[in-house]
Amino acid sequence: MALDGADFELYPNEIVAVIGDNGAGKSTLIKALSGALQVDNGEIRLDGKRVRFRTPGDARRAGIETVYQDLAVAPSLDIASNIFLGREARRRGPLGVGLRMLAKRTMRREASRHLQELKIGIQSMSQRVENLSGGQRQGVAVARASKWAQRVAIMDEPTAALGVKETRQVIDLILRVRERGLPVILISHDMPHVFELADRIQIMRLGKRVAVVTPQTHTMPEAVAIMTGATQAELEQTLVKDGEAPPAASAGEGP
């Protein structure tokens, strides 16, 4: 999916949600920001400084971490290994320098402390991630992102694969991540959660940013109408009819 005119801003200590229909360019935008895709045109500025990401590693080094909807990173590895994957701590002294031996105990201890800070109740850091429930797995993924993200944490549909109760837990977790001062970009289909979490909501359609709204200025049906391209008249009609989400417009003009 191509992006065109998809400007995007994020300020400290806020959660910005990006919403849009399938194919609106949400994931492409996020992949560009996390280094998974390279942009042909346009620029990314971090604290006002222009940056270029050629690989996911570049984005990580710039302090941007991403949580993807398909959950765990390496299901066959344990929790501590997942949290430290790609950033393994080595032992001090000859074992670490010469034999490149991992400091497993340190990593487990740090992983455990970090999960406790985020109030994720997993006891043993040596459990394999594949043995965890979906919510716990996503908890590990969010914890991993918040541990390493210096600037931004991106959550791409973090609750899409989860049940109701587990979704709740992940949402609370995202709020705790923000409390720690980390700005969050949230991509989600779930309007009630978007409106609960987000400080600002960026609406995308057909690869473009069509509006930036806040939960205070716009209602959910209004946001959905902008997202689907419903006309103002159609919107008012549906509001009168059922006050619920309006039907997807066939060919609408943006407001």
């Binding site: 996390s34 998974a36 690989t55 996911p56 590693g57 990580r60 991403t66 993807y68 398909d70 765990a72 990173v73 390496a74 299901p75 066959s76 590895l77 290994s81 994957l85 790609g86 393994e88 080595r90 034999l99 490149r100 031996m101 991992l102 497993k104 109030k119 994720i120 109740g121 997993i122 006891q123 594949e130 429930s133 919510g135 716990q136 908890g139 587990e166 837990q169 992940v170 609370d172 977790l173």
Partner: protein, 342 residues
């Protein structure tokens, strides 16, 4: 997510049945039980089976396949497969022996060049799999034939040293790993010790270093691993090259054991046995799951079968039949557990 919930889940794990299932599912426990059963079976059938010299012989027969299987384990952990292990080893073996005997290279130089030839094959396989992203199965099937052809072309179909030619014997450095020392009344081959050391090193690299974690992560889900910033192509390339190194060392072991460079070595037995050892050892063909300790046990199981069947007088051709069935059984178990996991 919160403490109360996780403790509410805990009882299902504490139930004895669940605990037993988890112990059985732990890596290398299943293969180990299979090994004990196999050994029990053959010790009932033959009095000689459990005697020291025979067990030492089993290990001696296992050492080449075992070292090949280390390389194969690494490749399979990344969800690949290497069909070229046997013929690449045969090529390395011919390079070593021919250079040492015909071309007058110093023995150690010949050995190093032979091992490097195998590493070069690993580099070739790895570049195509990691760089061009071709399926490992097809790449290594091609390499199998290339190495086979090169072996016969380079050796002119001759064994080294050529029979009855009166030429020099193989230098002692090439035969080093076939020498023995004695514990009790049992002769132990140095090559067996080397095999155990290599298994130890592979275990260390896979479980105690970041490289090992990255091998598992790459095999588990290459795209997810790439997104965490792991350089998956580099990991794959390194895996195939370390594999090549192992096949080169196995070539040296083979020369030591057979005291011969044989262009027809490694065509079926070693190739199939190495894959069988890995799969019997519980490493999943889907990648990301497995241990080298399991592979060691798997290699010993294969060795025990070949040795035991010989002891009880089963013809060699039936050994092929049995190993063929064994590998299919082991793969079926892998497939079933994989399906349950999904």
């Amino acid at each position: 997510m919160n403490p109360t919930e996780s403790s509410a889940q805990a009882p299902s794990y504490r139930a004895p049945v669940e605990r037993a299932r988890r112990i059985l599912a732990a890596p290398a426990v299943g293969p180990f039980l299979a090994l004990l059963l196999t050994m029990a079976f053959f010790s009932l059938k033959s009095d000689r089976f459990l005697q020291g010299p025979n067990l030492s012989l089993v290990l001696q027969q296992v050492m080449v396949v075992g070292v090949l299987a280390i390389g194969q384990t690494l490749v399979i952990l990344t969800a690949g497969i290497d069909l070229s292990v046997g013929t690449v080893m045969a090529f390395g073996q011919i390079v070593m022996t021919k250079l040492a005997i015909d071309s007058g290279y110093r023995p150690l130089t010949a050995i190093v060049l032979g091992i490097l030839a195998c590493v070069a094959f690993g580099l070739f396989n790895g570049s195509l799999v990691a760089g061009v992203r071709l399926p490992a199965f097809i790449v290594t099937l091609g390499t199998l034939n290339i190495a086979f052809a090169l072996t016969h072309i380079y050796s002119n179909d001759l064994t080294y040293p050529p029979g009855n030619s009166g030429k020099a014997e193989l230098p002692s450095a090439l035969l080093f790993w076939g020498r023995t020392f004695t514990i009790g009344h049992t002769d132990i081959t140095y090559g067996v010790v080397l095999m155990f050391v290599l298994f130890g090193l592979a275990w260390f690299a896979l479980t105690q270093t970041a490289w090992g974690r990255h091998v598992y992560a790459t095999g588990d889900d290459p795209e997810a691993a790439r997104l965490t910033g792991i350089k998956t192509s580099r990991v794959l390339l390194s895996v195939y090259m370390v594999g090549g190194l192992m096949y080169g060392i196995a070539a040296w072991l083979l020369v030591s054991r057979t005291e011969l460079g044989d262009p027809n070595a490694g065509q079926t037995t070693e190739n199939l046995d190495a894959i069988t050892a890995v799969v019997l050892g519980g490493t999943s063909l889907f990648g990301g799951r497995g241990t080298v300790i399991g592979t060691l046990i798997g290699a010993i199981i294969v060795g025990v079968f070949r040795n035991g069947l010989t002891l009880i007088g089963v013809e060699v051709i039936y050994q092929y039949l049995v190993t063929g069935i064994l590998v299919i059984l082991a793969v079926s178990v892998d497939q079933l557990t994989h399906r349950r996991r999904l």
